[in-house]
């Protein structure tokens, strides 16, 4: 039996030339000390493969029609065998791909692996990062629930700010002038054909470049990259100390990849896929659209940049980031690679992580959004059940003050916390703020009757340390 299998393989390999095709790639020499820091690229590739196979599986049941996609997703999630699990794999696979591509990029940058002769490895990697984020965004839209539909509008509005061609771009994104039958189809085509096609092409190119220039050796302090001598030195070292990629190099990729797969499977099994919200009916206005976690930081950017420069930031910042990332290798393709000799590179990575992390937390928290579920304040918080204070507390809820301001732990955080407002503002100041507004506060003078204003001020006057409990005790 073994002999028959051996003969069959020999025959097939002779006719197909598989060993000749793949063998040299698998057996190529890699630096001996390229160890665990080097697993993120292959982990990204594994996550992509998971996305392809789970995406193909989902496509067996998903109907990319604006009128039916929502129902088919409900069916996949609630009724199809393993449907919820496969959706979970696709979601956590996407998350893993974003995380791994980020880790791979940070490692490449810290190791100076983008320097000569691997500048194009970096630039193709930057494009792959961009395509990954586009896949993340369009994938969320294919969920085709309420958030997805409103996210398309947000994307169209952002595109609309591009000078001269903004309106055209917005129409292109919407598939017309409104959300409708043509909208989902184009995002399906982009998510399933166009961007994956680009990903395949650029992954192939990226891998080809890895083979062409070899895996960069871990940097050593004092070892400088000189284009005149680098290749000869690299290959001489490889001949002397290198090990074959198969199996000496790839086993770590397999171990890390297996762990990554286990994490994705466990997350999909335990937490399941993201919930499908209300249907994508644009006439349902109780919506609170938020991007998936990997774009929450950008959601925060859109809320926090000053309105005066917002349009410019919205258009120019992404272009600038892409250009800087693409051209980064050209700004320093030679010289020292070790991070101890390039301390600024550690600063850049830390700053990027801190910036994106802080914006991510802000986006998840989104204190600038009103709290629409704020309930009337209880008597224990108000400290009164009748009279101007109680009436003021009722108005504080009914006039939407509570949607934007906190009283103790209740309400919104769009405006200042008013739990102890009377400690810092006099009744007169409070009245002026309510009537005239100011800063981020609308003016309510035109909509409040004098008695209502007095009640509101009476309530807010009690908002000082210890006042509420004392009143209630009385």
């Amino acid at each position: 039996m073994k002999r028959l299998l051996q003969q069959t393989w020999t025959w097939l390999d002779d006719r197909l030339g598989l060993s000749a095709l793949i063998g040299p790639s698998l057996k190529h020499l890699v630096p001996r000390d390229a160890k665990w820091w080097y697993v993120f690229g292959s982990a990204t590739l594994l996550a992509f493969v998971i996305q392809v196979v789970t995406g193909v599986a989902l496509a067996f049941s998903y109907v990319p029609s604006a009128g039916q996609a929502y129902e088919t997703l409900k069916f996949i999630t609630d009724h199809a065998p393993f449907g919820s699990f496969v959706r979970g794999l696709h979601y956590y696979g996407a998350s893993a791909m974003v995380l791994m591509v980020g880790a791979h990029m940070a490692q490449t940058f810290l190791f100076g692996a983008y320097k000569y002769p691997r500048e194009m490895n970096w630039s193709t990697g930057v494009l792959l990062l961009g395509f990954t984020l586009v896949m993340g965004f369009t994938g969320q839209l294919l969920r085709w629930d309420q958030t997805a539909a409103w996210s398309v509008v947000v994307a169209a509005e952002q595109a609309g700010r591009v000078p001269l061609i903004g309106n055209w771009l917005a129409k292109f994104i919407l598939g017309g002038t409104t959300i409708g039958g043509a909208t989902l189809s184009r995002f399906f085509a982009i998510h399933v054909f166009i961007v994956p096609g680009l990903l395949f092409v650029f992954i192939f190119l990226h891998l080809w470049l890895v083979l062409r220039h070899g895996i960069s050796e871990p940097p050593r302090p004092g070892q400088s990259v000189d284009p005149k001598t680098y290749r000869a030195e690299y290959h001489a070292e490889l001949e002397k100390t290198g090990v074959p990629f198969w199996p000496d190099g790839i086993w770590r990729d397999m171990v890390f990849g297996t762990l990554l797969l286990i994490v994705i499977v466990v997350l999909a099994a335990v937490f399941g896929p993201p919930a499908i919200e209300k249907p994508p009916d644009p006439s349902l206005l109780q919506a609170d659209p938020r991007p998936d976690w990997y774009l929450l930081w950008y959601f925060a950017v859109l809320a926090l940049i000053p309105p005066r420069v917002e349009g410019y930031v919205m258009i120019l910042a992404p272009i600038l980031i892409v250009v800087v990332l693409l051209l980064a290798p050209l700004m320093g393709s030679t010289g020292e690679r070790h991070w101890t000799r390039r301390p600024w590179c550690i600063g850049v990575v830390l700053l990027s992580v801190l910036l994106i992390g802080s914006l991510w937390i802000a986006g998840a928290d989104s204190p600038w959004s009103p709290n629409f579920s704020a309930q009337p304040l209880s008597a224990s918080v108000v400290g009164a059940t009748s009279g101007p204070v109680a009436e003021g507390a009722r108005l504080f809820h009914d006039r939407a003050c509570l949607n934007c301001h906190l009283i103790e732990r209740y309400g919104g955080r769009r405006g200042p916390d008013l739990t102890y407002v009377a400690d810092r503002l006099t009744p007169n100041d409070i009245m002026i703020r309510i009537v005239n507004g100011g800063g981020n506060m609308p003016a309510f003078g035109a909509t409040l009757k004098p008695a209502e204003l007095n009640d509101l001020v009476a309530f807010l006057e009690t908002r000082r340390r210890g006042a509420a409990s004392a009143q209630l005790a009385r």
């Binding site: 604006a66 947000v154 644009p282 917002e310 009103p370």
Partner: protein
Amino acid sequence: MKEDACTEEIDRRRFLTRLIVGLGGACAAILGVPLIGFVVAPLARRAPSAWRPVGKLGDFKIGDTVSVSFDDPSPLPWAGVTARAAAWLRRVAPTEFIAFSVHCTHLGCPVRWMPGAKIFLCPCHGGVYYEDGEVASGPPPRALFRYDVRVVGEEVQIRASSIPITTAL
């Protein structure tokens, strides 16, 4: 003689190279022009608009602002619920109405009317508008867009049109 043959061979190959590149370009154009035209067709279409009924006169109290829903101006047969659209409609006089777009002028999220406070609030980035649609606070660059409204007999109609896109930087 041999040199002539060699030159001829080079000329022939140069010709064949040009032929290959030319034919490749022609094939790409033959396929590409209609394909790109098909994909970008929505850009060339004129923005449609259509009057849509949203209720009877008696359904609306003077002074109240309510949400109304209607079909978008050119729904495709397979659009399903995505063919729906909405507006905030206020009856300001017996036969006079104002219809505000539900789209925040910041980034298009659906604003909500807060009847007690008489303001519109946006859930996404905290935009606030006064009852006349003017910006009260937050990032929106301009007032809420409005739709045309008319009363035909007892029927209130809104002119459904494009999602308003803020194009100013």
